[in-house]
């Protein structure tokens, strides 16, 4: 199998909008450093962003000798309450996962200047000193994966099976993926589908993901991007049973999270949430925490079993693309217009 190092990642770009002011240092250092994490309406073991963030918190806790705890949100209406439970408990850092918690996090950060907040996927329009939005250029991640797909496809049809377009990161992934494929292969035909149901089911419907992936395979797609929680995972597993077809995972290296997909999994379009969260917690611990936005790393996961089929030419092209993305020279199609 391939190395554990990511195949390609964008450069970590510390936020430029940082507000330099330190939050008042009223922490009692005698107590252990405490970390709290509030999930989006999902579970910490969702094999997706909640899990990645939680792993980041656990990593940081292990490294810092800190305590980490989580609350799984059952209903979107409980964000505020769940954050409040950690505040009452006197934790030092609170991580809230998902853009849905954005408002609740801002409110809590404003009310509790003594606690650091990390908002995963939460873009901060106005900087608060004790709140950092950990955001990712998903379009770039998708673009890299798409570029690889454009080179790997033999049928010149690449597909994508996606969660709902109600969630902007999903759209960013999709636009990046399609533009990337066309970038390396102008003849390519892209066929993409969003889950047609509501937010409640769009990320939890592996059966739909699998059936739709099969439909895409049946009409000639030979490399398919599965992006949308359990729905996308369903697509990956389905593709794994098709001889000669490739699939691309999302968010984390799905080689590890969805082992069933290994027979087809070329790579994953990653958002490196785990290190991003761990780094930010460390920053909070050592006092270097800066509010505003922190642009996390994105990139391609290792090729693992498929290391052999990615030719040097392809790797070179990917390197060029990466450079172009980092330099901001390539249009990923996102944000639109």
């Amino acid at each position: 199998t391939g190395s554990d190092e990511p195949a390609a990642t964008t450069a970590a770009a510390p936020a430029t909008t940082a507000a330099a002011e330190e939050p008042a240092d009223d922490m009692d250092d005698a107590e252990p450093f405490k970390i709290g994490l509030v999930t989006d309406t999902g579970k910490v073991d969702d094999k997706s962003f909640n899990q990645s963030a939680w792993e980041g918190a656990e990593q940081a806790a292990a490294a810092l000798g800190a305590e980490a705890n989580y609350i799984e949100t059952e209903e979107a209406k409980d964000y505020e309450n769940n954050i409040g439970l950690f505040i009452e408990d006197g934790v030092d850092v609170i991580i809230t996962v998902g853009f849905g918690l954005g408002d609740a996090t801002i409110a809590a950060a404003q009310a509790n200047p003594g606690i650091y907040f990390i908002g995963v996927d939460q873009f901060q329009a106005e900087a608060l000193p004790n709140l950092t939005g950990l955001i990712f250029p998903e379009d770039q991640s998708g673009f890299l994966a798409g570029a690889l797909a454009g080179m790997l496809t033999e049928s010149n049809i690449v597909g994508a099976v996606l969660g709902t377009d109600l969630v902007p990161p999903v759209v960013a992934f999709k636009e990046g993926w399609e533009h990337g494929a066309r970038y390396t292969n102008p003849d390519v035909q892209t066929i993409s589908t969003y889950h047609p149901g509501g937010l409640d089911v769009a990320f939890g419907d592996p059966d739909w993901g699998a059936a739709t992936a099969r439909q895409a395979l049946d009409q000639g797609a030979d490399i398919i991007f599965g992006a949308g929680g359990a729905t996308g995972n369903g697509a990956l597993i389905e593709i794994a049973s098709q001889e000669g077809a490739y699939c691309v995972g999302v968010d984390t290296d799905q080689w590890n999270t969805v082992p069933e997909a290994r027979p087809c999994l070329v790579t994953s379009a990653m958002k490196l949430i785990t290190p991003g969260v761990a780094d930010l917690i460390a920053a909070a611990h050592d006092g270097s925490f800066a509010g505003g936005n922190f642009l996390g790393e994105v990139g391609l996961a290792p090729f693992h079993d498929f290391d052999g089929i990615v030719t040097d030419d392809m790797r070179a092209t990917l390197a060029d693309v990466l450079a172009g993305l980092n330099a901001g020279e390539i249009d990923t199609g996102w944000p639109p217009g």
Binding site: K43, Y194, V201, E260
Partner: protein, 349 residues
């Protein structure tokens, strides 16, 4: 089938009521002919896409028809089963867990079916034995299944092997149009197809089927001729649970290949709709399931092709809106009567 048995069969179904060429039947046959013609036309126009849609159709229909048959046996015996959703979910969970622990898909299927049977038995115990209201009993199953599978969900678990793969049925698989859709399928799909046919014959022609109709229509009458209504209801509801259990196993081990929370996604309720739409006969339910699967697959295809430039949310409404229209229209052509004793607990005097 002998010609003489025809009318007898129709009345035995307990739902047809009308014999011969009723307008109802003429409409369905005419509809079927038009549908086949259309499919053939599309196939000539774009083989790959038609195959994709037909494949998606059969795939979505399989789970629905298994659930519908589970519901149907219950309803024909006089027991409403709105717990199919819970039965799907719970048995998908155990099928997946056992398959992943034992490394055997077959054992997983066995576990799924057993779970379905156990949940069927629970439904029977509640609604037949304790004479709990049947809708409540089903709701209990649904809530409990959702809670238990989430509560015991094991984060790291994976199947550790590929899910059930397609098996080509020799030359049949090379047939045009239906070759891939029907004859290049994974094993549980074939099993479901066989069950549809077998159950159809059993329900309409066997002693068991007739007695089942009797206890659903008039349990008192059945009791006076010495049929043990309670016992037969117990058996039927329990065994029917096995079908939903198979559905759960199909979902986890064949259709998807993994388990996630709430993965049945309302399909147990859709199966109920399919059952009623299919007039409580297995073949009818399969036709209804195919219809529903077709609209679902078509909706996916529209998106894949960017056929219409309308938001996914509207394309996504297609199967549901079409179903409402068809159910309403079908109602105008001939209403279906529920089994007379449906929903009523039976008490031995």
């Amino acid at each position: 089938m002998t010609a003489g048995a025809g009318p007898d069969l129709a009345t035995a179904s307990g739902v047809a009521g009308v014999r011969g060429w009723s307008p109802q039947r003429m409409w369905s046959v005419a509809g079927a002919v038009v549908l086949v013609a259309c499919v053939w036309g599309f196939y000539a126009w774009d083989g790959a896409q038609t195959t994709a849609v037909l494949g998606g159709t059969v795939r979505a229909a399989t789970l629905l028809v298994l659930g519908a048959m589970c519901g149907m046996i219950g309803e024909r015996s006089g027991i409403v089963n709105i717990g199919i959703e819970g039965q799907f979910l719970m048995s998908a969970f155990t099928a997946f867990t056992v398959a992943s622990m034992s490394g055997s898909l077959f054992l997983g299927v066995v576990a799924g079916v057993s779970t379905g049977l156990a949940m069927g038995w629970m439904l029977a115990a509640m609604s037949v034995g304790l004479r709990t209201d049947q809708i409540i009993a089903g709701t209990v199953l649904n809530i409990a299944a959702l809670g238990l599978t989430s509560f015991f969900y094991d984060r790291g678990r994976s199947l550790g092997q590929p899910k059930y793969q397609s098996i080509e049925l020799g030359p049949l698989a090379d047939l045009p149009v239906v070759g891939t859709a029907l004859f290049n399928r994974p094993p549980l799909t074939y099993l479901a197809l066989v069950l549809v046919v077998v159950l159809h014959v059993l329900l309409l022609r066997s002693v068991w089927g007739m007695r089942t109709t009797a206890i659903g229509e008039h349990p008192g009458a059945a009791a006076t001729v010495g049929i043990d209504v309670i016992r037969l209801r117990y058996w039927n509801v329990t065994l029917a649970g096995g079908l939903a259990g198979l559905g759960g196993a199909y979902l986890a081990l064949e259709s998807v290949g993994t388990f996630t929370r709430a993965m049945s996604g309302g399909r147990g309720f859709l199966a109920l709709a399919v059952m009623i739409f299919g007039r409580r006969t297995p073949l009818g339910a399969y036709a209804a399931a195919l219809f529903f699967g077709f609209t679902t697959a078509l909706q996916g295809q529209f998106q894949l092709n960017d056929t219409f430039d309308i938001p996914a949310q509207f394309v996504g409404m297609l199967p549901f809106v079409v179903t409402i229209i068809v159910v309403a229209a079908a109602g105008l052509f001939g209403r279906m009567r529920d089994p007379a004793a449906l929903g009523q607990p039976y008490e031995v005097r």
